[in-house]
Structure formats: structure tokens, C-alpha cells
């Protein structure tokens, strides 16, 4: 049963299995295990980023394609929900319409970009997605009449999903709509992740990996390389858009900084590389570690910076605003020395 759910793709390492189970249990029981608003918010972010990063892994790790437009697709889903909720009023129909139209928009755009750039050279794709994504980000901030510009949009979601909806107590925790909302996010993320796992373990996924290994040979054997890559791009974009919709439902706010910025794109890259490209489980590990670190490590840097205030340069380097620099260094080092990421390492350890 479990093997079937995982599409036969088992973690293949005891430590990894334990880690994954631990993460699953913590996320599944988050409202009951942890206290307060912040842990719940962190747990929801982890769920959403697992899906976002896993969908990126489909492209990067399995397809061997680098895209810089993943946040754009994520943003399309988020803005879909936001715009639908703004114009149709609060309601589940608005959430559904927003999610679906966001996903459709993402697929159409992905199809166009894919057909244009993948036809020529895979490397064009990286450059063109970068250009298109930044153009979209600029458009979103300029057409503030529709999108709210830099300020973003705040909107209402169905009351059932907000903390205003009190439903009594369970296991000593007050059950509110917020917790319901969390479980919506959690369940949807779990389903999406299992779906992605199914895709990469399907014949389609295997062809995709064959193309990544040697596209000339795959083409020679008779696979239409461009078609496979484009479909992977579309699937990945659609999943990212749905993740964006979940994010919008959870936050009840969208803005360029939270959904479209280049910084989030870098976060995604980091999570997938550190977790382990082409493993899917790497997305789980990478996203969990990263979101936790982002939430808690920056505080630590702040205190370290203060503690070293007397020294030259060091406090500047340890400033929480320099968080990104350390990530960058970590990123370069992991691409060099750790190309299979944490999951790859754990699996290696087992087999040797």
C-alpha cells in the first residue's frame, strides 16, 4: 500500500526514511505538537515549499533544464486566487476558479516559452525564462490598478478557513478555521507530492531522465526530446501554480516580494540543490531545512553579529541581512562538493 503510494520509489536509506517519517509526523500533527501561530505558519510554508521545490526538481533534477521562471508560475497561481477572491468575493468558488485559471495561465505560458527556447538549445531556456520572469515581475508592479503593485493584494477567504471560525477543543488545542486551513494546505501538498512522485516514476519520467543523460541518443532512439521537455515544463509550471494558490489561501495576501521575487527563485534553487537534485525526497529535506533555517537561523546571526560588534568587518559579514551571502557560498560549495545533495549522500552511505 505504502509502496504503491510512493510509486515504488522508496527512500532506500534508513536515516532518510526516519527523517522523512519525522517530517511527515511533525507536519501532520503540527497544530497539536507545536504551540502558537509561528510554528503553524512555518509548517504551512514547509508544506507549500516542498511542493514548489519538488515541482522544480521535476524540471531541474529529472529534466536537466534550468528555469528562472518558477516563481513566476508560483506567482500566477497566487495572483489567480487573489484576483478571483477580490473580484468574486469570498467563497470556495473563487478559490477554485482562481486556482484553476492560475494553473491554466501557467501551462500556457510554459508551453509558449518551452516551444520557443527548447526547440533551439536547452541553455536558451535558462536565459529566456530569466528575461520573461523579470518582465512579468515588472508588469505586476506597474499595473498596480489590477495587481496592487508593490503593495500587493489583501482579500478575504471563506470564513470557515479563518481563525474567526471556532469549532471547540480537541486534545487540548483550540480548533479554529486556521487549523482547518492548515489541513487543506497539508493534504493538498501531500497529494501533489505523491502525484509528482508518480510522474517521475512513470515511463514519462524515465524517458525524461534518459534525455537528461544524453539528449542526442534519446533523439536518435526516436523520442521527441522537445516534446518531452516541454511537457515536463508544463507539468512543473502547473504544480508550481497550485502551490502558489495554496500559499495565497494560507497567507490571505499576495505581493511581488512574497511570490515573484528573484530571491525566492534563489531559495528554490538552494533547496533543491541542498536536498538533492533528481530525488524528489530531496525537496522534502531541502525545503524543511531551509525554511527552518530561514525562520530561526537569522535570529542567531543577529545575535552573533552583536556579539562580535567590537571586531572589524565580522559583524558586517554576520549581519542578518547578509544571510543571502552565506547561502550563496553554501550553494556554490554544495554544487561542487555535494552535487547529489543530502539525499544522495544518505543513499550512498547505505550502499557502501
Amino acid at each position: 500500500m505504502i509502496v504503491k503510494l510512493l510509486s515504488g520509489d522508496q527512500p532506500r536509506s534508513k536515516v532518510l526514511t526516519t527523517l522523512l517519517l519525522l517530517i511527515l509526523i511533525c507536519l501532520a500533527g503540527a497544530p497539536f505538537i507545536f504551540d502558537g501561530v509561528r510554528p503553524l505558519d512555518t509548517a504551512a510554508r514547509i508544506c507549500i515549499f516542498i511542493v514548489l521545490v519538488a515541482s522544480y526538481d521535476l524540471l531541474l533534477g529529472y529534466g536537466g533544464i534550468v528555469s528562472f521562471a518558477h516563481t513566476m508560475f508560483f506567482g500566477l497561481g497566487a495572483y489567480g486566487v487573489a484576483l478571483a477572491s477580490t473580484h468574486m468575493g469570498r467563497g470556495f468558488d473563487a478559490l477554485l476558479v482562481g486556482t484553476i485559471s492560475g494553473a491554466i495561465a501557467a501551462v500556457v505560458l510554459a508551453l509558449l516559452i518551452g516551444l520557443f527556447s527548447l526547440r533551439v538549445r536547452a541553455i536558451f531556456f535558462a536565459m529566456i525564462t530569466l528575461a520573461v520572469a523579470s518582465a512579468v515581475a515588472v508588469l505586476v508592479s506597474q499595473f498596480s490598478g489590477i495587481t496592487g503593485g508593490e503593495d500587493g493584494l489583501t482579500y478575504k477567504i471563506p470564513r470557515v478557513l479563518t481563525s474567526a471560525n471556532r469549532m471547540g477543543e480537541f486534545l487540548g488545542t483550540r480548533i479554529s478555521g486556521k487549523i482547518l486551513n492548515y489541513y487543506l494546505v497539508f493534504t493538498a501538498s501531500l497529494i501533489l507530492f505523491l502525484l509528482l512522485l508518480r510522474i517521475v516514476n512513470s515511463p514519462f519520467g524515465r524517458v525524461l531522465q534518459a534525455i537528461r543523460e544524453n539528449d542526442f541518443r534519446a533523439e536518435a532512439i526516436g523520442y521527441r526530446v522537445v516534446w518531452y521537455r516541454t511537457v515536463a515544463t508544463c507539468l512543473s509550471a502547473a504544480t508550481a501554480a497550485v502551490a502558489g494558490s495554496l500559499f495565497a489561501i494560507w497567507l490571505r495576501y499576495v505581493g511581488p516580494d512574497t511570490t515573484l521575487s528573484f530571491e525566492i527563485m534563489l531559495d528554490i534553487l538552494l533547496m533543491v540543490v541542498i536536498g538533492g537534485m533528481g530525488t524528489m525526497y530531496g525537496a522534502v529535506i531541502g525545503a524543511t531545512l531551509f525554511v527552518l533555517a530561514q525562520t530561526y537561523l537569522q535570529n542567531f546571526m543577529g545575535s552573533a553579529s552583536e556579539a562580535t560588534a567590537a571586531l572589524p568587518l565580522i559583524p558586517d559579514l554576520l549581519d542578518p541581512d547578509r544571510w543571502l551571502m552565506w547561502l550563496g557560498i553554501l550553494f556554490i560549495l554544495s554544487v561542487y562538493f555535494f552535487p547529489t545533495g543530502i539525499v544522495g549522500r544518505l543513499r550512498q552511505g547505505r550502499s557502501s
Binding site: I123, A126, A131, L317, R322, G328, F331
Partner: protein
């Protein structure tokens, strides 16, 4: 000795068609200028916009030339190229600020000397930085595009953050040296002096680059290397050395572009290089990766397009360049002047 059967007739024909084929992209620039005139209507605004479009194009070209050659020579795509633009701008502008007395007086000689020193400093720093970047970031990942993209993006982030560490988190505002401020009026149109200077510098650089590529042995090696690197090696040239040279020169040019762009915008930020990369990529792609001439034409098109559209419909300026790229790729999937790759 019998000569080969002659192929002269077909030879001449192919040559003619190919000549036309090559001339077409160059004609796009005047076509765009004329279209701009028709769309804008007012000759004075059109002239102002054309000059600023050309100025912007020249600056983008300066930044893009190194990137495109580096790709052509070694199949290395450097997503961190924008870092050199930012660093160049910060170094150059720091020098200009330090030489405040020279830039503050209305003496052309002192002003130009200050700018010259700023440019030299910026190019020296970014050149050395390019050398280090090539050794540390790029060299270990030759031949692996995926890793190259990831690692150079990582390098870009780190360098940008280091700029924050050294120069602080805020943007720096500067004003141009006295004699480069203001505009001259020509046929009722106000043309900023600095933009004319930028056009001049860009043009001179392009011609110089063309001369080096066409008339010198090293230029020959570079052009041949872009087309077929392994053969150049088999003839006895150390392509890797040539490549490092081009990488360093390209980085220094990006630094120069950074100083010029900083003076153009009169404000610099650590993220400016990253923002410019979008335009630089568009230019490199539509020009044909590896082609300096293509990048030049592409840069002029992008600069003009951006300025015309910004005047007509400000919100669509960046999108218009995406549209330009789409149109050109539909016409020529490999860019306007594709580099013949022997594979």
C-alpha cells in the same frame, strides 16, 4: 597538375544570397529608427529618444560583448556576468567621489581625467576579479551547463552581497562631472551631452573590437575558436589561455559598462548588474550567441525599442524587448547572426 573542376558559378550565387542574408539584420536598425519616427511624430522628441536609445544600446553592448564571446569560445554561460557590472560601477563611482574636486569644477580636462581614472580603476578591479572568478567559479564546471548556471548564479549572489558589506546596504547617488551635465540643443531637440559621449565611446569600442577580431592574429584565433575550438588547439594554440584573456577582457568591459551605466542613471545599487543581465541576455540571444556584431546590432535594437516604447507606453518598455526577442527568434531561431558551430 590538374586543378579541381571549377565551382565558380554556384560560388558567386551563394555569396550574393549570403551577403543579403547578412546585411538584413544590419538594416533592422535604420528600419526601427524610421518606424520610431512614424510612431512618435514629433521630430524633436524622436531625435532625443533616438540618441538616448543609441546611448543605452552602446552601454548594453559593452556589457554584452564579453558574455557572448565567452560563450562562443568555451560554451560557458556566465550568469554571474552582471556582478562585474555592479562592482565596476561601485569602484568607478567611488573614485569619482574621491576626486570630487576634479569633477566639481567646470574644467573639461579635469573632468575627463577623473572619469578616465575611474574607468581605469573599475576595469582593473573587474578584470582581476574576472580572472579570479574564472579560476574559482567557472573552471571546475567546464562542459557542464547545468552546474555552470547554478554556480555562476551563486557567484553573482555572493559578489552582490559583498558589495553590501563593503559599500553598505544603500544605493549611492552621484552627479555627473560639471562639463558632462546638461544638454545641447540641436534642431529643436535637447540631446544630453553625456549620451553623446556614451554613443561615441561605444562606437569607438565596437570598431576597435572589430579591428582586433578581424585584423590581428589573436582575433583570428578567437573567431576560429568560436567556430571550432578543438581544431584551433590541434593547430597548436592554447585556447584556454585565449579564453582566460577573453574572460578577463569581457569582465573589464562589463566593469566599464557599469561605470557608464552608473553615470547615466546617476544612481548605483548592488542589484544593478543583475537587472542589466536581463537586457544583456536578450541582446546576446537575438544577436546570436558568440557573435560580437550580432550583439552590437541587438543592443542598438533593444536600446532604441526600450526608449521609443517608454515614450509611447511607459509600462510596456521591458515587455517590448521580450516581444522583440520573440519576433527575432521566430524569424531566426539561432539569433540574427548565428555562429556556425562545427560539430
Amino acid at each position: 597538375m590538374t586543378a579541381a573542376p571549377d565551382h565558380k558559378p554556384t560560388f558567386a550565387q551563394i555569396s550574393l544570397i549570403e551577403q543579403l542574408d547578412k546585411a538584413l539584420p544590419i538594416l533592422l536598425v535604420p528600419i526601427l529608427v524610421v518606424l520610431g519616427f512614424l510612431a512618435i511624430g514629433a521630430p524633436s522628441s524622436w531625435l532625443t529618444l533616438t540618441v538616448s536609445g543609441l546611448a543605452m544600446g552602446m552601454m548594453i553592448f559593452i556589457m554584452a560583448s564579453g558574455l557572448t564571446l565567452v560563450f562562443g569560445l568555451m560554451d560557458v554561460i556566465n550568469f554571474g556576468h552582471g556582478a562585474f557590472v555592479s562592482v565596476g560601477a561601485f569602484v568607478g563611482i567611488s573614485v569619482l567621489i574621491a576626486l570630487g574636486e576634479w569633477t566639481g569644477t567646470a574644467s573639461l580636462l579635469l573632468n575627463i581625467s577623473a572619469v578616465f581614472l575611474a574607468v581605469v580603476a573599475a576595469m582593473a578591479v573587474t578584470g582581476v576579479m574576472g580572472w579570479g572568478f574564472e579560476r574559482v567559479i567557472v573552471k571546475p564546471v567546464y562542459g557542464a551547463h547545468l552546474k555552470q548556471i547554478l554556480v555562476t548564479v551563486g557567484g553573482l549572489i555572493v559578489v552582490e552581497q559583498l558589495i553590501h558589506v563593503v559599500w553598505g546596504p544603500d544605493e549611492i547617488f552621484i552627479s555627473r562631472p560639471e562639463t558632462l551635465k546638461g544638454a545641447i540643443t540641436f534642431a529643436g531637440a535637447a540631446v544630453e551631452k553625456y549620451r553623446l559621449l556614451a554613443v561615441g565611446v561605444g562606437l569607438v569600442l565596437f570598431l576597435a573590437m572589430r579591428m582586433v577580431l578581424r585584423r590581428t592574429k589573436i582575433g583570428l584565433i578567437v573567431r576560429a575558436g568560436v567556430e571550432n575550438g578543438p581544431m584551433v588547439e590541434a593547430l597548436g594554440y592554447r585556447l584556454r589561455m585565449v579564453f582566460i584573456g577573453v574572460f578577463v577582457a569581457g569582465s573589464a568591459l562589463a566593469g566599464l559598462g557599469g561605470v557608464m551605466w552608473g553615470l547615466y542613471q546617476e544612481v548605483i545599487t548592488a542589484g544593478m548588474g543583475e537587472k542589466m543581465m536581463v537586457l544583456v541576455f536578450i541582446v546576446a540571444i537575438i544577436g546570436g550567441l558568440g557573435s560580437v556584431e550580432g550583439a552590437f546590432i541587438g543592443a542598438l535594437l533593444v536600446g532604441l525599442m526600450q526608449n521609443y516604447v517608454a515614450f509611447l507606453e511607459p509600462k510596456l518598455a521591458l515587455v517590448s524587448n521580450i516581444a522583440l526577442m520573440t519576433a527575432i527568434l521566430m524569424w531566426r531561431p539561432q539569433g540574427m547572426l548565428p555562429v556556425v558551430k562545427a560539430k
